[in-house]
Amino acid sequence: MTAQFGSTASVESGPVTKDQTNGHGANSPVSSVQQAPRYRAPLDTAIIDTDIHIYFPTQDALRSYLDESWQDYHRTFGQRGFDGSHYPRAMPNAARHDAWPDDGTPPGSNLPLLQKQLLDEWNIEVGVLNPLVGAGEQRNLAFGAAFARATNEWQVAEWLDPEPRLRASIIVPWEDGELSAAEIDRWGSHPGFVHALLIARTKEPLGRRKYWPMYEAACRHDIPIAIHFGGAAGVPITGSGYPNHYIEDHGGMPQTFQAQVISLIFEGVLQQFPTLKFVLIEGGFAWIPPMLWRMDSAWRKLGSEVPHVTEPPSQLFRRHFWVSTQPMEEPFKPDQFRQLLGQLDLDDRLLFATDYPHWDFDAPDRAFPVPLDKERRRKFMAENARALYKL
């Protein structure tokens, strides 16, 4: 064994000795990246929160927005999605422990608490609601469509009407392009809805043509398509089968986002719909530069298979995609975060998000691990979202 190898990392014994390359000090048995209480940013800009989750307080509340026949259906058969890939979560409802209303209803189901803990506490100017209540994941597509419509009506009646700071997502039964287009047409000109919401783990990659009618409708109304963390899809979360743990499921979601971007770009969606915009929510963003480098390199050699892709994937990405900041990337050293922003080159596209009331919540003053200049702060915290959503 050579000296160089042994001095930095030892395979034989397992434990790593001192690492000289990246500032990840290894003095304690368990060393960590974060050394001191985190940098605290001044809250001197407007804040637009692009990812807030709301839930029906009870199943009865959901049913009250369904037609009578679907109420019976729901009472009898309940929700039927893609089962069999359940990773018990670390936190009930994947929520912050302090976000449960006193009456025992789920986090995110109580407007006054949401106002107090989020909108008032952080002086949020506008908050975008992304209800992940399951309408898109129903195997019964007709029920999914009814469920989506009920969710949209509920958002208007119980959230948008009483709280002018909130905006909503058009929930669609995404596995059916036509039904989804109809739902987008129904709400597309309502000023309270800012995007249509999909989940990252759709049944097929989102570039596939079955989804295209939905994109056509989104273009008709100039509404972005948002793709949010989560879902089960009925296939494993890796290209190599089912892992065992929640940490692998949760930590593996960036691979899903990468698969969706690869699909949307290479299957030609952006050429077909040149005005379409996508928002990637809760996927993080450090994976974006290396993915774009790989896609560009693949396109240079294999582009003949997809002649409809007429410009480098990275260029298409930078034109058509917006990205939420949560869960915030936490590199080993503050400088590496700045390097990441440089590699990303997406200063006009990053959108601050808290993910309230979920456990991986990012606090507005401590989300960014490094100080940012005022201009970037303004853009990330509010102005990029204001421009995208025309707020």
């Binding site: 304690s28 985190r38 912050r96």
Partner: protein, 144 residues
């Protein structure tokens, strides 16, 4: 050093806590098996209300597929936001005991006779608290 009366002993039974405002700081006072501990109610990670987290234990294992050990049940505080684990008795985090820790404060128990006049009144003044002779009090010591 300023000492603050923050609670009566029987107000915080074993396994319970009380979050108090003293000296401009939010502090969680915990009773762990009869011993009292006080921690700053701010998680060093992103500032979450640490002392509102669940009390749990350290799950440990020597290797995958072996036995899980559950150690120090009830002495470990899990941040209500991102779930980092802290040892209530020291304020140290599991992820990085050397450098990520929350401030902990000395706590003592005193009876009414023990209370010298220099003690700062804690939250009890606001709650029209009266020191009575047959009670024991939890006292938190703040620097400065």
């Amino acid at each position: 050093m300023a000492k603050h009366i923050v609670a009566t002993v029987d107000e915080i039974p074993p396994g319970e806590r009380k979050v108090v405002e003293v000296g401009g700081r939010s502090i969680g006072v915990f009773n762990i098996k009869g011993e009292f501990y006080a921690l700053r109610n701010i998680c060093p990670h992103q500032g979450g209300p640490l002392c509102e987290g669940r009390l749990t234990g350290f799950v440990m294992a020597d290797k995958p597929g072996g036995e899980y050990r559950y150690e120090r049940r009830g002495e470990i505080l899990r941040c209500p936001w991102h779930g980092w684990e802290y040892d209530v008795t020291t304020g140290q985090s599991w992820v990085d005991p050397a450098s990520v820790r929350t401030r902990s404060y000395d706590v003592e128990i005193a009876t009414a006779e023990d209370l010298p006049s220099t003690y700062q009144p804690g939250p009890y003044t606001a709650e029209t608290f009266e020191v009575s002779v047959d009670q024991e009090y939890v006292i938190v010591e703040l620097p400065g």
